[in-house]
Amino acid sequence: MSLLSLNNVTIRFGGLTAVGNLTETFEQGSLSGIIGPNGAGKTTVFNVITGVYDPTEGGITFGGRDIVPLKPYQIANVGIARTFQNIRLFGGMTVSDNIRVAFNNNAKSGLFASVVQLFNYQREEENYHKQIDHLLDMFGMLDKRNEMAKNLNYGDQRRLEIVRALACKPKLLLLDEPAAGMNPTEKQELMKLIRYIRDTFNIAIILIEHDMKVVMGICERITVLDYGHKIAVGTPDEVKANPKVIEAYLGEPTH
């Protein structure tokens, strides 16, 4: 069974069809990419998977479960985490607290236990901090633990967003333009990082990316969207050779 499947998903905003009749599946542990020209509806696909928008038509299942009726936070809790195109960190919180937010939903200590802070609370809290430090250590950010998120440099902000998403213990990670604004060296590192995440955490990753080197370099399977419709799908080499894809990116050949 596929991890995530979109069945005939259509999203309309007023008269505009942002995504039309999209059917696609993503497998456990796969590394896939969604590409397409500006305005092709890539981010909209992410938004509909994570429940920010409801599909106008069609269904989405995750691990066999219908997730369309779920609210965004519930979808996060069933195992889909994401990053955002325009970074959305909790700017006024420290790096460590940004990650700590991930634990709030499975915290056994509720409101009053969190005020009293005795008994099991301390043990639980220590456990969270261990996990946070471990994650930060893995991504080389342990020394920035107590910095305000808004004071981090751009690359670290992008990285923190990924760490934060991983702390939610997802089965599927959605990365929205992770390489945006990075220089070639940083992009190289990012590609290594994404592969490393997939292998270490054993999760599926879908990324939206404009940088073809990044997408072609790491994705096993690529879906191409144009004007909200799927025009091609396949391995990087297949997609690269597909005339429809070339047309979508370069325009119709003139005779």
């Binding site: 994570t50 429940g51 920010v52 609210k71 965004p72 936070y73 519930q74 996060a76 809790n77 985490a81 994401r82 955002f84 959305r88 960190l89 909790f90 700017g91 006024g92 919180m93 607290d97 700590r100 937010v101 991930a102 634990f103 709030n104 939903n105 915290a107 200590s109 509720g110 409101l111 236990a113 969190s114 005020v115 009293v116 802070q117 005795l118 609370y121 301390q122 639980e124 809290e125 969270y128 934060r164 998403a165 939610c168």
Partner: protein, 333 residues
Amino acid sequence: MNKVARPYLFLLLGIIIAFGLSAWADGINPYDQRIVMSIGINMILAASLNLINGFTGQFSLGHAGFMSIGAYGAAIFTTMIAPGMLGEVAGTGMQDVALFMGLLFGGIISALIGVLVGIPSLRLKGDYLAIVTLGFGEIIRVIIQNIPSLGGSLGIANIPRYTTFFWVFFIVAIVVFFIQQLTKSTYGQGFLAVRDDEIAAEAMGVNTTRYKVEAFVIGAFFAGVAGGLYGHYNELIRPADFDFLKSVEIIVMVILGGMGSTYGVLFAAALLTYVPEFLRGFELFGVKFDSFRMSIYSLILIILMLTRPQGLFGGINFKKLMKVGRKSVVGNQ
């Protein structure tokens, strides 16, 4: 010091201070007593609103409405319900029990109304939320005004004076402890996440609606308790005491103190309660300051927003400041 013990020591310290103030109360004149009492009550109001505005980022302009519900609830309890349950309590040790139950009663009713108001309004954001909470505050006032058994616009008089310095500052200590602990906990990070970015918070599994309503309800509860304390000190409550201006007064304390900084907000509450009283007696060019002190108050608010919108203490990391201070001392040696 132990991480677990420290907040409790602070709480204990707060309770000792409350006892100390209580012992001191008899020695001071009624005018000063009233100021100190108002400072304490405003601290509770400001700290509780700070949970909603400062920590959770939901702009509420209806805090005085919740205060009034608590004030009326507590007054009804001690004047009508308590005599039946406890008998004649005034002057005996039982009056504290009556007050405590009255405060709880008022606070809980206020919290329940908080749920009722919060669930629909908290779908709104920013200035729309501000307006709708303002509207609810005003509606609460108009409704109370139109209930004859609550005294209409004349309000309820002859409420027994049960509120003491101890009670007020004991509750200040409790509120501070509650909010500090909560906002430091893992669970409490949800409030701050909602404030900083709701969409990202949802994407991380935070049930933003629940956090918002919880902040609103806790804030309403403590505002109700503050209202109960106010009524049992003032002996008289009228709907006009809890109008829009009172809500603005509380919000200004939160802003001046720096949203999200509990101690800053406490200080601002004390400052903004004391300074207008202090200025009352002043004269300038033969004109009593009293007549234009409120005008200056609003002018200061504007200037503050133009120059330091984060408040007097907002954005200052006290821990860091102290560390830097220590380092520079070491460096000089």
